[in-house]
Subunit: 221 residues, 2 copies
């Protein structure tokens, strides 16, 4: 049995949870507030970041190491293709969401609405939110473009690119900020992800102090 | 023959250059300014970021995909250990430098001194520089602590953790901002890295408009 120290506001934790479910791993969750990391968290991970994965006496910290560990450790539902060039394309999209989407959208929207509010007591800055929403349109166009070409974001097969993109998008969707109407291919793609069993628990997420958007759990949104 | 589109100010490009050298790959470099990405760069990498790696008709963009591709493609000088738990420890440190060091040090020091100046014409903000220098002391303590315990940062063997840390540290050292005097284990570790053949070209780097610190190329600094 694995233990994941996580928070529902973190896209990286969401990613690892979906991964573990896809790989049929048994796990329990422990919540930790990312805006107030405890001394216990620092003892496990000197970076003080989430997620932290505990399994069989091992402590593995951080998005990238846990993701690659799960892929190497569990042969169930491989989420990286066999061909190394295709693997590179999947990882390009993983980096796109973990770095670019995170910086341009998450930091401006979710960070303002959650981390800032709960960590400092200050209200979100409407100018920063506006920048995030603007950037989100650009990312939605890109997802729509990818989803129009293939069944899944990196090709015909479901992969780590879809897991990563959906993890990031789902937390912004929880906040009610994803403009689905303009992007029918992106919407169709996301409805496929939403109906996967591995996504079920993500749709039950609840962040203390913030209600999910009304359509958040709907498969038909 | 591989082609890397890079810039000497980018720690991610430095990392890939060291990796390719460790793996005895033949490559040529093409410089692109990160603060003024060209239309040609966007055609190769829609994210508009460096590095971009071209090899045998393939285009691979970004730090994470290129790194893992090189490790999977070339069996020469493996830079990840065989044991998957040790691989996770190496990747934890890779993420530490690529994410935490990048955000806390690079963004505050190198970005201010280079990207801001060359991209916008504005002078660096001394308050931001001070935050970066302060954060750098914390990271130097951590490197010193790691280097005191083992030959290399993630254990007894040279690994991707050392390549990544040295890539990030070298660009801050170019700017003359690394406080070596207080950290003798970190200094000893870095002098070992500096004397590797794969690091030779890094020490010849020249950023137009910024002279390297006097000790930048010295093996005894």
């Amino acid at each position: 049995m694995a233990l994941l120290i996580h928070h529902p506001v973190s896209p990286f934790c969401r990613k690892i949870r979906i991964l573990m479910s896809e790989k049929k791993m048994l796990f329990v969750l422990k919540e930790e507030e990312p805006w107030k990391p405890s001394q216990d968290l620092y003892k496990l991970n000197p970076a003080g970041d989430l997620p932290v994965f505990l399994y069989d006496g091992n402590i593995i910290s951080g998005n990238y190491p846990i993701t690659e560990f799960l892929e190497e450790f569990s042969k169930e539902t491989p989420l990286l293709p066999k061909d190394i060039k295709q693997r590179a394309e999947v990882r390009r999209l993983v980096e796109w969401f973990d770095t670019k989407f995170y910086k341009e959208v998450y930091r401006n929207i979710v960070y303002e609405k959650a981390h800032k509010r709960f960590g400092t007591g200050r209200a979100p800055d409407s100018r920063i939110l506006k920048v995030g929403l603007n950037n989100l349109n650009f990312h939605m166009e890109y997802i729509d473009w990818l989803a129009e070409r293939n069944n899944y974001l990196a090709g015909e097969e479901f992969s780590l690119a879809d897991v990563t993109a959906a993890a990031h998008l789902s937390i912004v969707d929880y906040m009610g900020d994803v403009p689905w109407d303009g992007y029918k291919n992106a919407k169709l793609w996301y409805s496929k992800i939403k109906s996967r069993p591995s996504f079920k628990e993500i749709l039950k997420d609840n962040i203390k102090g913030i209600l999910p958007a009304k359509h958040y759990t709907n498969l038909d949104f």
